[in-house]
Amino acid sequence: MSTWIPACKTGDIDAEDIIPFEHDGNQYAIYRSDDDQFYATDGYCTHERELLCDGLVMGNTIECPKHNGRFDYSSGAAQGAPVITDLRTYPVKIDDDTVYIGIG
């Protein structure tokens, strides 16, 4: 069972961008794609402990700001060296103008 946690307002994220979200001591990343879909993943890269929110979003890809490891943020799939472990993703729902992520 997911617990739905309000993360941000839809207007808080630009299209094709990312913002950080912290809940209960855990770091998450919330994304808004070019076609206005919202996604959520773990906040840290799976390679070294770098926050992805400082990285660049291009299309459906988030790139780690430090070592350029890339993930498809819609599926969490790692896109090759230096990252080998997929990024954990979380379900997202929009209610009114609030973005909720499903944790647990």
Partner: protein
């Protein structure tokens, strides 16, 4: 059957060995390294490895099992002497000969030494994990640490030493830190951060003499002044390791000279990483040599493909980073290609400094800020450099303009 032989088991050599499998090579792969450790990442050596508590382990690239699974034979603690190109054999220092199909030279670079410092107990260099462990043991609270060289290695370890409570002095021969690799304004942000942390930075000074008595070194400067220190760290750049190439009579000119496919003057011998000088198509095929983690990694992919008969051209934009205290610096492109600068002043006070060449094309970008705060802008600049874009300088300088729009 003859093997793919890789000389040098650093970032570039180790990655090439593994990449050969994804590039389709099914025969033997032999990876020779001078160190006995499994291949590891070097960037942490001047950062986390000096700071951490406990016994720091090297950041290993691949495990024994990874190599076994990929059937890569890693032979550590081995020196390669030369390539006998007539008999197509790689000759080890022991005289052992290995038949090769293709060879990659990924021999890296060796720290430049300070001749007057040779043989002193108090003198340190930083290239290997063992070097880092030895230096780390000297970074105790209150210890006097003197760093010769205000480049990246020198400043990173000066920052680590200061954070560990050492009394740190940095001696730089040039008028300012970080030389031509970084714009003066970016260097001055780092300079100020070091001063703020109590690091004594002296530019425009040269070391003329060194003595050592009872575990304490005395550094004499050209102006006659002297500094007593518990450890002296030499970080004055690196020279490409071209010994094997020279003994094999391959062309060498500021590194092992390769073509755009990373082939040396012998088409069956390749070179990649810190040791090679390659023509860069984004900068008029000018030959450059890079000492950078990402270059080593990216060239490993191209080298593996071309050793398997491919014809990939290496075109990646030069990029590197440096972490000092809470600040992160990033540089993309070739700042020395620029003849004018455009500054984008972000609302958070961080300046992104772009370099434009005489034709208005963006050729470099550099910035420094807390953590990874500059990463996104430098990455976008890197993409503009790769696409040879000549952006409108007014739009580039305007922080309200989304840089992504300039890319499309």
């Amino acid at each position: 059957m003859s093997a793919m032989v890789i000389v040098g088991a650093g970032e570039c050599g180790a990655r090439t060995a593994m990449n050969l499998r994804s590039a389709g090579w099914t025969g033997d792969v032999v990876l020779f390294g001078a160190e006995t450790l499994l291949p590891y990442e070097r960037p942490p050596l001047s950062k986390a490895a000096l700071l951490g508590i406990g016994d720091p382990q090297p950041a290993t690239l691949y495990s024994e099992q990874d190599f076994a699974d990929a059937r890569v034979s890693h032979r550590g603690g081995v020196r390669v002497d030369r390539i006998d190109r007539e008999t197509r054999q790689v000759i080890l220092s022991t005289g052992e000969a290995i038949d090769y199909h293709k060879v990659l030279l990924a021999t890296g670079a060796t720290p430049r030494t300070l001749p007057i410092a040779a043989g002193f107990e108090t003198v340190h260099m930083l290239r290997t994990h063992d070097d880092a462990l030895r230096l780390r043991s000297r970074l105790t609270r209150g210890a006097r640490i003197t760093v010769v060289g205000g480049g990246f290695i020198g400043l990173e370890l000066a920052a680590c030493a200061a954070e560990k409570g050492c009394r740190v002095t940095v001696l730089e021969a040039a008028p300012r830190l970080l030389g031509r690799a970084v714009p003066a304004e970016v260097a001055s942000v780092l300079h100020a951060r070091h001063l703020n942390a109590g690091v004594d930075i002296r530019c425009g000074v040269t070391v003329t003499d060194l003595t050592e008595v009872g575990g304490i070194a005395t550094v004499v400067l050209a102006d006659g002044s002297s500094i007593d220190t518990d450890a002296l760290v030499v970080g004055i750049g690196a020279i490409p390791d071209t010994d094997v190439a020279e003994k094999s009579r391959l062309q060498v000119d500021n590194g092992i000279r390769v073509d755009r496919y990373l082939a040396t003057s012998d088409p069956d011998v390749f070179a990649a990483g810190d040791c090679c000088s390659f023509p860069h198509p984004l900068f008029g095929d000018r030959h450059i040599r890079l000492e950078s983690w990402r270059n080593a990694q990216d060239q490993a992919a191209v080298a593996a493909a071309n050793m398997c008969g491919g014809s990939e051209i290496y075109t990646a934009v030069p990029w590197f980073w440096s972490d000092q205290f809470d600040l992160g610096l990033q540089v993309a492109g070739m700042p020395d290609e620029a003849d004018r600068e455009v500054v984008r002043r972000r609302p958070d006070g961080i300046d992104i400094r772009y370099g434009l060449d005489p034709a208005g094309r963006i050729v470099s970008a550099a910035a420094v800020g807390p953590g990874n705060a500059v990463a996104k802008d430098i990455r976008l600049a890197e993409m503009m450099i790769a696409k040879r874009i000549s952006p409108d300088p007014d739009l580039l300088a305007d922080p309200s303009v989304n840089v992504k729009a300039l890319l499309r």
